[in-house]
Subunit: 463 residues, 2 copies
C-alpha cells in the first residue's frame, strides 16, 4: 500500500474532508498513501472562498464560487457540524444557528489548520485531462500550473473528484431574452444585493438560490422581487414586496409575459435555474452524468463509480446534509483506498445502488427527502470510524427548519438549535437577521460586547 | 498529400478564412486535404455570433463572444473588406462605412454560404486536449461533443488554431474592489449600455473596449462616464459627460480613489483591461505565450509556430487589419499545408521573426503601428494567390480614421471611405450615428426608403 498515490480534485469542503480523513488515520499511527490535492483557486474552501470575480478568474478559468456578499447560512449550522470538530471547539463560545459565510469559512479552515495538510495541496493548478490505463490500472492526469503556465502529468492509483456541482450554471433560453435591455445574470454571478436597490427584479427559479437571492434583494432594498416557478412555487408566506408567479413564457422588450397571462416590466433578471454536474477533464465514460439528485445513479454508497471504483466522487448528491455528509463519505473512501474497507463485486454494488434509486423514486415531501438522506448518512457512518452523531436529531432539526421557513422566511434565521455534537444550545444573535446588514466575522463575533458598551454609555448620557 | 488531415479550431473569421482558402483551391481543381473545423458554439462567426449569455454557455463552457447590443464597427469597413468578396457583391448596393454588428456578421456569412463548408464544421464541439506524437508526426486531438456529452479523439497532420484572443478576460485586482457595492464586470461580459442609464460609470482601461463602451454608455444615457488609464489617456476630444482620469488606486466602499489624489463615487465598474491569449487545450510547449502585440514572438510569417510549424496560429496579432489579414494568413497557411509553399529551416525562420520583432520594438506612434502591419500584410500577399489589394491606400484610411476619432469621437462613424476592392464610395448612413439607437440589419439596410416614404406622407399632410 505504501507506494499508492491518491489524487484529489478540489480543496473545498469535500476535498478537505478527504485530506482530514487521511490525517486522522495518520494520527492513529496508520500508514497512509501519498495524497496530492489539486485546487484551481489560490486558496482552499471551494465555494466558501468568496471571489469578487465573475465569469473567469485571474488565469482565465471559469470562476468556481457562487457565493455573494451578505450570504448567511440558509440552514441551521447544527445540521452540518463536523462530529470530530465542534463549533464550541472552534469558537470557544456559543454562536447563533445561522452564521454568515465568513464565519462558516473560518470554521471549515479551523479544523484543517490544525495539521499540515496545506502542504498536500497544489494551488492554482487545474486538471486538464485524465486517462485511465486499463493495463497499469493507473490514472494519468494532465495538470496545468496556471501561475507559471506550465503543463505536466502524473500518475495516480486513485482519483477523488471533489470539484463540486454548484459552479457550472444551467441557463435556459427564453424567447426575447436576448433583447431584454437590463442585466441578465445567473445566480452563479450574483455577488450582492446592492445593485438591485430600487429595481424591479425578476428571479427565475424556485429552489434555494431563488429563495435566498430574492429575500436578500428584498432585505437590501429592491423595489419588488418576482419569482417565476416552473412546476411548483416555493409557497412560503412571502412578505409584501416578494411574490411568486408561474413560469416566464417570453420577453417583449423589458416586459415579461408569464404562463398565467399576466405580464410585468422588469429592470433586471437573475436566473436561479440550477447547476450542471460538469467534469470537462474526464473522458465521458468516467463522467458522472446526472441531474441534481439525492442519489445519483452509478455511485456505490454514493461515492464509488460503479464502472471503476478507484474513481471516487464526493458530495455529488443534492444536499440537506453537507459538511458532515462529505466527512462520512470521505472516511469510507479513505478506508477503501487504504484497503480497510472492501466493496462487493460490481453486480452486488449495482443491486445496492438500485435499492436506493427505487427508494428515491418514492419520495414525495421534503420530509421524505430528509429521511432518505438521513438513512444514507446512517448507512455511511456504519462503515467507518468517523465519530457517530445523532443523525435522527439532525433530521428533526431539518424538519423544524422547513417549518420555520414556511412560517416566516424573513425571521427563520433568528431561531436557535442545539448541537448534537456538544449539546450546546445556540446563542440568539445580537441583531435580528432582517436588521443585520453587516456579514463580517468581526461584527458577528465581537459586536455584541461593543454594542452593550455603547448602549450603557448612551443610557448613562440619557440619565 | 491526399490522405493529409487538417484540424481547425474555431469557426470565427480566422477559421472561416482557412475554410474559404481551401475552397478556393478546390475550385481551381486542386486536390485539398481533408479539413475538419471544431467550433464550440452552435453557429459560426466567432466573436460576431452575438450571445446574450455571459460567463458560461448552454453547455457550461466559457462564453466566447465579447460583443454587445448597439456595437457598430469601430473602424471603416473599407479597411477590412475581403479582396475576393466585396461589400458590393454581398449587399448589391453601397452602404455606409461603419455598419453595426449584424450587418458585418451578414457579410462574413455571405461568402461562406456560397459553398458547402458548413459541412466541414462540427459545431458544439470543444477541444479538450492535444498531443503531438513526435514519431508519427501527428496531432492526437481529444474532442468533446457538448450536445451529446461524448468525448472522442482523432488524428491530424496539421493543426490550425483559430480560436481568437479576445475571449479570455484579463482582470486585475484593485484594493477594495471586493467590497465595491455595485456591479463589477469585465468588458467581455458587457451586453449593452441600457443597464447603465442614469448611473455614474467607472471604466478602467484606455484601449478600444474602454473607448467604445464609454461612448456607447454615454450615447445611451449614462449619467457620467469616467475612464481611468494606466499609462496614457486615450486623449481624444471627449464630450461633456465623459472624462479621463489617471489609474485607480483603491476603492473605499463605492468611492474610487485615483493616482492624482482625486476621488469619486460610482454606481458600477466595467473593466476594459484586455484579454489573455489562452490555449487551455494545448501542452504549454505548444502554447503561444504572448501579450497582445503586433508581432507575437515564435510565429514565422505571423502564423507558423517555429518549434513545430505544422502548428499554425491565425489572427493572433493585435489588429488594425482584421478580415483581410486573416485571409492573407490563411491562404499562406493553406499553401504550406498543400505543399505549394515551402518554409525555410528553423534557424532562418528565427532570423526572419527577429527582424520583425526588432522593427516592432522601434514603433512609437499609432501611425508607425499601421505602417508596420501594412508591411506585414504586403509580405503575406506576396506569398500566395490571395487577390492583391491596395494595402497602402488602406493604411491611409486607417490614419484618417485615427484623425477622425481625435477630432470627434461621437461623429467619426458618420464619415465615408472608398473601397480598394471595387472603388465604390460608401453611402452616408440615413441617420447620424449619435441619433441611431437601433442596430438591426433591417433598420440599417431598409429604413431609408421607409423613412423617405413616411416623410413624404407627413409633408403632404402638412400641405
Amino acid at each position: 500500500m505504501t507506494n499508492k498515490r491518491v489524487a484529489i480534485i478540489g480543496a473545498g469542503p469535500s476535498g478537505l474532508a478527504q485530506l482530514r480523513a487521511f490525517e486522522a488515520a495518520k494520527k492513529q499511527g496508520l500508514e497512509v498513501p501519498e495524497v496530492v490535492c489539486f485546487e484551481k483557486q489560490s486558496n482552499w474552501g471551494g465555494m466558501w472562498n468568496y471571489s469578487w470575480r465573475t465569469g473567469v478568474g485571474k488565469y482565465g478559468e471559469p470562476v468556481h464560487g457562487s457565493m455573494y456578499k451578505y450570504l448567511w447560512s440558509n440552514g441551521p449550522k447544527e445540521c452540518l457540524e463536523f462530529s470530530d470538530y465542534s463549533f464550541d471547539e472552534h469558537f470557544q463560545k456559543p454562536i447563533s444557528s445561522y452564521p454568515p459565510r465568513p464565519v462558516l469559512f473560518d470554521y471549515i479552515q479551523g479544523r484543517i489548520k490544525k495539521s499540515n495538510v496545506r502542504d498536500y495541496i497544489r494551488f492554482n493548478t487545474t486538471v486538464r485531462w485524465v486517462n485511465f490505463d486499463e493495463e497499469t490500472q493507473k490514472f494519468k492526469i494532465i495538470l496545468d500550473n496556471l501561475k507559471i503556465d506550465k503543463t505536466y502529468s502524473e500518475e495516480f492509483d486513485y482519483l477523488v473528484v471533489a470539484s463540486g456541482h454548484f459552479s457550472t450554471p444551467n441557463m435556459p433560453y427564453f424567447e426575447g431574452i436576448d433583447q431584454f435591455p437590463g442585466q441578465v445574470i445567473h445566480a452563479h454571478d450574483f455577488r450582492g444585493a446592492d445593485p438591485y436597490k430600487n429595481l424591479d427584479l425578476l428571479i427565475i427559479g424556485s429552489s434555494y438560490s431563488a429563495e435566498d437571492i430574492g429575500v436578500q434583494c428584498h432585505k437590501h432594498g429592491a423595489k419588488s422581487v418576482t419569482l417565476s416557478y416552473r412546476s411548483n412555487p416555493i409557497g412560503v408566506n412571502w412578505p409584501d414586496g416578494i411574490k411568486e408567479v408561474p413560469l416566464l413564457k417570453y420577453f417583449d422588450g423589458d416586459v415579461a409575459h408569464f404562463k398565467d397571462g399576466t405580464s410585468q416590466r422588469f429592470d433586471a433578471v437573475i436566473m436561479c435555474t440550477g447547476y450542471q454536474h460538469k467534469f470537462p477533464f474526464l473522458p465521458d465514460e468516467m463522467r458522472l452524468k446526472t441531474k441534481n439528485n439525492l442519489y445519483p445513479d452509478h455511485l456505490y454508497k454514493g461515492v464509488f463509480f460503479n464502472d471503476l471504483p478507484q474513481l471516487i466522487y464526493l458530495g455529488m448528491q443534492d444536499q440537506y446534509y453537507t459538511f458532515n455528509m462529505f466527512d462520512a463519505q470521505a472516511w469510507v473512501a479513505r478506508d477503501f483506498m487504504m484497503d480497510r474497507y472492501q466493496i462487493p463485486a460490481k453486480g452486488a454494488r449495482r443491486l445496492d445502488i438500485n435499492k436506493w434509486l427505487i427508494e428515491n423514486e418514492k419520495l414525495k415531501s421534503s420530509f421524505d427527502h430528509i429521511d432518505f438522506q438521513t438513512n444514507y448518512i446512517k448507512d455511511l457512518l456504519a462503515l467507518s470510524d468517523y465519530p457517530d452523531f445523532n443523525v435522527d436529531k439532525v433530521a428533526v432539526m431539518f424538519k423544524e427548519w422547513i417549518k420555520d421557513k414556511d412560517d416566516n422566511i424573513l425571521t427563520y434565521r433568528d431561531k436557535t438549535f442545539q448541537s448534537v455534537v456538544t449539546g450546546t444550545m445556540a446563542e440568539t444573535h445580537h441583531t435580528e437577521w432582517m436588521d443585520e446588514l453587516d456579514d463580517s466575522k468581526e461584527r458577528y463575533l465581537y459586536q455584541e460586547q461593543a454594542e452593550d458598551m455603547l448602549e450603557d454609555t448612551l443610557e448613562e448620557e440619557r440619565l
